[in-house]
């Protein structure tokens, strides 16, 4: 241990423009000392208390295990509430090297944020402490709404509880906001979520839109109710009083208060305070013959967790090309390939996705598709809608379903010569921007080739053992598939098919991993074509595992 302390002292003394003010010593847990750091542009060096944790030079979770603290720097960017600088540096297992990186990072912070007073281009959210309220954490998810709130506008909200979970070692209750109302319960804005989320049971809460953030130094959220005094108007405090008075029977229950403010001219953000009915932080006081509602001081605020789950943030880390995400999509056939395509599209930002399938999900389908054992035997369409609603709050199935799929299949296969019905089918299909035919139904492949469809149509199918994946998307889809599979082009095993017990209809052998690897490869290729605005061509993805696995895409 002694060696560690002396190594830190020696290293610090060797770094230019850094001086030891108080040499490092071992305290109960950490090694602590004080240093001064000089950077060109400073009139005099800045002092920092430095604390080095036992894990150093390794990080603890995602946090650096060295702290540089100066309580006089609170007004500057990237300073934590205790005055420590927020730094993230590169990894090194060598203490002296890591210390060098960290000091360089402190110097860079001084130059950028202390001397130049730079502001970052991206908005940095207020720091909100994670607090337990009544034995649980609370999280509230909001979405942007087509309504512009004015300063000090207040009223009621509806919210729904999504689930109860575990947050580190404590409980957490997650919720979504559903609607905003004015004080007379007239709807101001309906928050858009998928139809299942919209059908959840409703609870009530309150909101006020402040416009300005309830913060100290634009950095930390208020921690005491008294700090709200200059911001909360008297009529809102009276509203709080009347709400509490009318909810006396609910004493002890909680009521979330949404506090809104602008983070840019066009974007609102919401924080939530947990209020306990019967214990609101207000009291009445007679001033000049008039009763006023006042805010209680020395009372800490119970902030909940909030997340902006609007589309741009929900899919901010990555989504597919707009041709897919903005498009209306139909997937015909949601077996192994189709269900993987559906889930990939939904996770990647697509919202308007319908599917046709008249098949039933059986337990043995689960191992290589996107269904769960939990839901038992069920129509594939119903089951997949439920699965996808769990993933994306923006999923909007509009058409399809079991009965629609049955009718579509019947009319297409029996009435193709009826020009009126043919036109109606074409009209229905042309409402989709992209159609994925993953049914491997060659009758359907033929019939679709006889229709006048302007949508982008992609036919996906796979050979036994997932040796090849074929995508047909051009005018010649039908002959192309026939030539590839039934001609003398693709070579694959046709003897070792899987025969489900009690079933005469053999299916292909391949695992979820085999299939998914090729489906993702195909979608990536198609997306790349859309990104470059290039025309789609038929293609075959061939695998070869004779030596190392190779996957090769051949475009036609």
């Amino acid at each position: 241990m002694r060696d560690r302390v002396s190594e830190i002292n020696t290293t610090i003394e060797s770094i230019p423009d850094v001086k030891l003010i108080k040499p490092f010593e071992q305290s109960k847990f950490d090694i602590q000392g004080c240093i001064s750091v000089f950077v060109e542009g400073l009139e005099q060096p800045l002092n920092f208390d430095v604390s080095v944790s036992p894990q150093y030079p390794f990080k603890s979770h995602d946090t650096e295990t060295i702290k540089f603290t100066n309580g006089n720097l609170l007004e500057y960017k990237h300073i934590m509430g205790n005055g420590s600088i927020c730094i993230h540096t590169t990894h090194s297992p060598v203490l002296s090297e890591k210390l060098g990186y960290d000091i360089t990072s402190v110097k860079a912070w001084i130059k950028k944020y202390y001397i130049k007073k730079d502001t970052d281009t991206h908005y940095e959210h207020l720091i909100v402490p994670d607090k337990v309220f009544k034995d649980s954490h609370f999280a509230f998810f909001f979405n942007e709404v087509a309504y512009s709130f004015s300063r000090n506008q207040f009223g009621f909200i509806d919210y729904s509880t999504l689930s109860n979970g575990v947050f580190y070692k404590e409980n957490i209750n997650s919720n979504i906001i559903q609607k905003f109302y004015d004080i007379n319960r007239k709807v101001l804005a309906d928050v858009k979520w998928n139809f299942q989320l919209k059908s959840f049971p409703i609870s009530s809460g309150l909101f006020i839109f402040l416009k300005d953030a309830p913060s100290k130094n634009q950095r930390w959220i208020f921690d005491d109710w008294k700090e709200f005094e200059p911001l909360l108007p008297q009529d809102f405090l009276k509203f709080l009083h009347s709400v509490e008075k009318n909810a006396q029977k609910e004493k002890g229950k909680y009521l979330p208060l949404f506090v809104g403010y602008n983070i840019t001219n066009a974007e609102a953000h919401w924080q939530v305070i947990m209020l306990e009915i019967g214990n609101f932080p207000i009291y009445g006081e007679k001033v000049n013959q008039q009763w006023l509602t006042m805010i209680v001081g020395n009372r800490s605020i119970d902030w909940a967790i909030t997340r902006n789950c609007s589309y741009k943030y929900f899919f901010g880390r990555g989504r597919l090309n707009e041709k897919l995400t903005n498009g209306k999509i139909l997937i015909i056939g949601i077996g192994a390939i189709g269900s993987i395509v559906a889930k990939t599209l939904i996770r990647s930002g697509c919202t308007k996705v319908d599917f046709f399938d008249y098949d039933i999900k059986e337990p043995e389908n689960v191992c290589r598709s996107e269904y769960s054992f939990f839901t038992g035997i069920s129509n594939k369409t119903n089951d997949l809608i439920n699965e996808l609603c769990l993933i994306s709050p923006f999923f909007e199935p509009t058409n399809g379903g079991y009965e629609f799929s049955e009718a579509f299949d019947f009319f297409l296969k029996s009435h193709l010569t009826d020009t009126t019905i043919k036109k109606e089918i074409e009209k229905q299909l042309n409402e989709y921007d992209v159609i994925f035919d993953c049914s491997a139904d060659n009758d359907l492949l033929y019939l679709l080739s006889q229709l006048n469809i302007s949508s982008t149509l992609l036919n996906f199918s796979i050979s036994n053992h997932a040796k090849q994946f074929v995508c047909a998307t051009e005018q010649n889809r039908y002959p192309f598939i026939n030539t590839q599979f039934n001609g003398r082009v693709l070579k694959f095993d046709i003897d070792e098919l899987y025969n489900p017990t009690g079933c005469w209809n053999p299916t292909f052998k391949a695992s979820y991993n085999d299939i998914n690897a090729l489906v993702q490869f195909a979608i990536k290729h198609i997306n790349s074509k859309f990104e470059k605005d290039k025309a789609l061509r038929n293609f075959v993805i061939e695998t070869d595992d004779t030596d190392c696995l190779t996957i090769k895409l051949k475009e036609f």
Binding site: G333, G335, A336, I337, G338, T419, C438, S439, A440, D441, N442, F460, S461, I462, S463, N464, V470, E474, Q475, N476, P479, F480, I481, T483, Q484, F485, N486, G487, R488, V489, F492, I494, T507, F508, D533, K534, A535, R537, N538, K554, E555, F556
Partner: protein, 322 residues
Amino acid sequence: MDKSLHLNTVIKTHQITKEKDLLDKHIQKKNEVKEALEKEYGNNVYAPFNSGSYAKNTAINTKFDFDLVSPFKRNAFGANGTLKEMYEAVYDFLYDKYKNDAEVRKQKVSIGLEFYADSDGDKIKIDVVPGRELNQDQYKDDENLNLYVYYKYGNIAADSERIKTNVQSQISNIKDRADKEKDSIRKIIRLLKVWKNTKYNYPSKSFFLELITIKAFDNGAMTGSLWNKLKTVIEYIKDNITNDGFTLKDPGNSSNDLADTLTDSEKQQLADDMKNMLDRIEENDENIKTYFPENPKFKEEDKNSYNTNGGMPVPPPKLNFG
């Protein structure tokens, strides 16, 4: 497999004479539209004529390409009438006349008439190309016409340019070469049209494919089998179409460059398609059937398509899965 044998079969199944009834319907409909234009415009129009691939003897029976050029007199739409006014007036006339019988669409330089399917399920498609002589009464001497560009045509901007050309020269130029070299140029042109039909709305016009085929033939010795000749043309397109100095002169007006009817990205796509085609056929001869399919309507039955097992016929199994 013998690729040339397959290609000859493809040409055979695409012979226009195999669809005589459909051809007759096209000719009849073309004559009807011609008469309607003559009746409407009287002395203001010279005799409309077919400039499509049927006229050039390069047609295939899956797409007839009937283009009806309508040569208007210089003052047909007023002494100060614009080409745009000509185009719009002809569109309005055709729309009023055929709106109940056909889809009437504004296209790049033509107005498309796609007649609804008749009782046999046949659809007739005629493209009317309005053109205007350069000076009053000059057409009978020089056969030159100005065409209006309705929307962006390759690198030619919409509404900003006119195309001056001599359609009769275009027809005779292609027809002469195709007739003289019918076992080479004409076959290759027809095969490239068959290939084009495997795609949705391919940007290169048939006229473009005709000219580039002739240019490839003029580029050097074209020897060997039909496949070798086709391969040489495909390689020529792949290697030249994206070159900066590459031009395709319009036989109707040498200052028109048909290479301009494709944008740079369309030229790149064409080069990529040619490369993919050669690569795939190189990998497996059977892939030639994907690019150059027989017309299934006139395909001869493959007697060996079913496997046999000890004399008992076995139906082909399902081999593609989802």
